[in-house]
């Protein structure tokens, strides 16, 4: 049943899915079903490049006129997004809800979620404690969701007309409809998230930032792999003498250009300030503005940090 769905997607979409490369797992474009890894492991890279490309041209200037892009974007499937990555996608949907460039791209992306049961590291994640169990699927954005059962069979859900149409086309009839009930649960914003926010608000003089500032190299890898880091730059790129592209590219708050203005003045001067800026975005600004977590506890940042900074440890000493 699942094979039929996957083959249909491979034949009709550009498919991005988790795939195994050596000992590691990456989200990348796949052509064959056998390349796809459905073990539910958290991939090294996040899915955000599919939704918010590292660099995208948002419009062109030609002969002093703005030329709107009419690129046909090939339909894409994000196949096998786990619950944490779907939460990160939910944040993007909220942040970029009025962003027409994001929305145009998003309309062409079909999202297929995947769950294979709680990961073994789950007990280590209590510091985040976001409720990942009860009714979680109703609060996640997806078109189709595949839930692996203990008997290795998949329970299938759809949450959109588009998802339903694809299931019908692949002659899958045993599925359940789930109505998306918004990212915020009925009982309100996550209490633990609010507690962390209250702590970070008053943490400016906490020694932890200076301590982290001493070991952090400001390499910015955590921001690159983070599925919720969405900071961006707007800048122009020359095509020829009379043509330029306005591009939106990923920004990184650990790099000096991030806060630099004309005259070479930089506002985030120390590594301690940059680290705190990164945490404040996830645990203060995002929860305050959108009432949803700015960190989905995927721990990709821990994995890539060259000096071993652990996000859950930082939060626990605030």
């Amino acid at each position: 049943m699942i094979d039929r769905l996957i083959n249909y997607l491979l034949n009709n979409f550009q498919v991005f899915a988790p795939t195994r490369i050596g000992q590691e797992f990456f989200v990348k474009e796949v052509k064959l079903a056998k390349e796809i890894d459905l073990s539910g492991r958290i991939t090294e890279n996040s899915w955000k490049n599919i939704f918010l490309p590292v660099s995208e041209t948002i419009f062109n200037f030609q002969q002093n006129k703005i030329i709107k892009l009419k690129n046909k974007i090939k339909p894409i499937v994000a196949l096998g997004m786990n619950i944490l990555d779907l939460q990160a996608l939910g944040l993007f949907e909220t942040v970029f809800s009025k962003d027409k460039y994001y929305q145009e791209r998003r309309r062409n992306i079909l999202v297929v979620g995947l769950a294979v049961g709680a990961p073994s590291e789950f007990k280590d994640w209590q510091v985040f404690s976001y409720n990942l169990e009860e009714n979680i699927l109703e609060h996640l954005p997806f078109d189709i969701f595949l839930e692996k059962q203990k008997n290795n069979q998949y329970k299938i859900y759809e949450s959109s007309e588009r998802g339903q149409a694809i299931l019908e086309k692949t002659k899958i009839t045993d599925y359940q409809h789930l109505e998306f009930a918004g990212l915020i649960r009925e009982e309100g914003p996550d209490p633990k998230m609010l507690r962390v926010m209250d702590k970070i608000k008053v943490s400016r003089s906490n020694k932890v930032w200076e301590d982290l500032g001493k070991i952090c190299l400001a390499c910015g890898k955590c921001a690159i792999v983070c599925p919720t880091c969405f900071c961006y730059d707007l800048h122009d790129q020359s095509v020829d003498l009379n043509a330029f592209e306005r591009q939106r590219t990923w920004a990184n708050c650990f790099y000096p250009e991030f806060s630099k203005i004309a005259g070479e003045k930089v506002f985030l001067n120390t590594i301690a300030q940059k680290i705190r800026f990164w945490y404040e975005h996830k645990f203060w600004r995002i929860p305050k503005e959108y009432k949803i977590p700015g960190c989905v506890s995927c721990l990709r940042c821990n994995k890539v940090c060259p000096v071993g900074i652990k996000i859950e440890k930082t939060l626990s000493v605030l």
């Binding site: 991030f258 203005i261 800026f277």
Partner: protein, 278 residues
């Protein structure tokens, strides 16, 4: 999406600063354009990018034209300084929260304190008052303007008129000798830092202070305001940060839970005194 504006006039304000008088190419768009004192525009040139500039003309003339003062300090501003009348710029505007509405202020004793090119946003405040008889009658306006040298003064041609209605004081920190009769463009001058003006011309606790200048100026001017007994809630500051989107999304101008582009660039002091914004 940026809109094209045509440069209608260019005025050299000082050795490194030009005033650009602009109007949207689309006349209907221009006819509907409005802004508040202290709001800013994202102004760009294809290929050179965009940056934030305070709109410094009279808001009541916004439907006909509007102006920005541009100091040559980086790549984009250097290219802007080469432009001629009739050339185009590309603009998204207006953005941000402006200065508080003058008629809503708690006191009618207005003090404008500007340092260097931080003086730019006060021109639209001054023009709004000068062009509104009621405001002109109700407000006592004192202007403290600190500048490095005589050659860097901006809006000096307007001082003679301002001096008739406002109490304007200038101070220069890099000049060694005062000009003739200690006056420049009809305005009394002194030598030293801007804080010296607070010693020479004391202010009263009923002042409402608008500040715009470098962070170091804020530190010392805030001390002087505190000594004079001006309450924190009657002090407003204009802050500077890198801005890319203008909507509070891209994060470049974020600090704590504030965005300079949407919550500012003008902030009431008591609301940000515990932050690192200043």
């Amino acid at each position: 999406m940026p809109n094209e504006v045509i440069i209608k006039k260019i005025t050299q304000l000082s050795v490194d600063t030009k005033l650009f008088t602009l109007a949207f190419k689309d006349k209907i768009y221009q006819g509907n354009f409005s802004f508040l004192n202290g709001q800013f525009a994202m102004v760009g040139i294809p290929g050179a990018g965009e940056a934030a500039y305070n709109i410094c003309s009279d808001p009541s003339a916004s439907k006909k034209f509007w102006e920005i003062a541009v100091r040559k300090v980086g790549r984009l501003t250097s290219i802007m300084h080469q432009l001629k009348v009739g050339d185009s710029l590309w603009v998204r505007a207006p953005f941000g929260q402006g200065w508080p509405k003058l008629k809503n202020l708690q006191t009618a004793n207005l003090l404008l304190v500007g340092g260097g090119c931080g003086f730019v946003p006060f021109r639209s405040v001054a023009l709004e008052i000068l062009n509104d008889k009621k405001l002109l009658k109700n407000f006592q306006v004192k202007i403290f303007y600190g500048c490095s040298g005589f050659d860097y003064l901006i809006f000096k041609d307007e001082f003679v008129n301002w001096q008739k209605f406002f109490d304007v004081k200038l101070i220069f920190d890099k000049e060694k000798k005062l000009p003739k009769a200690n006056k420049l463009f009809g305005v009394k001058c002194d030598l030293g830092l801007i804080t010296k003006l607070f010693d020479l011309y004391p202010i009263t606790s009923d002042a409402t202070a608008f500040l715009c200048g470098p962070a170091i100026m804020y530190k010392f001017v805030l001390e002087k305001l505190k000594q004079a007994g001006v309450p924190d809630q009657n002090i407003y500051l204009s802050l500077e940060r890198r801005m890319d989107c203008g909507f509070g999304i891209c994060q470049h101008c974020a600090c704590g839970d504030k965005y300079v582009c949407t919550d500012g660039p003008i902030f009431r002091y008591d609301k940000i005194k515990e932050t690192e914004l200043i």
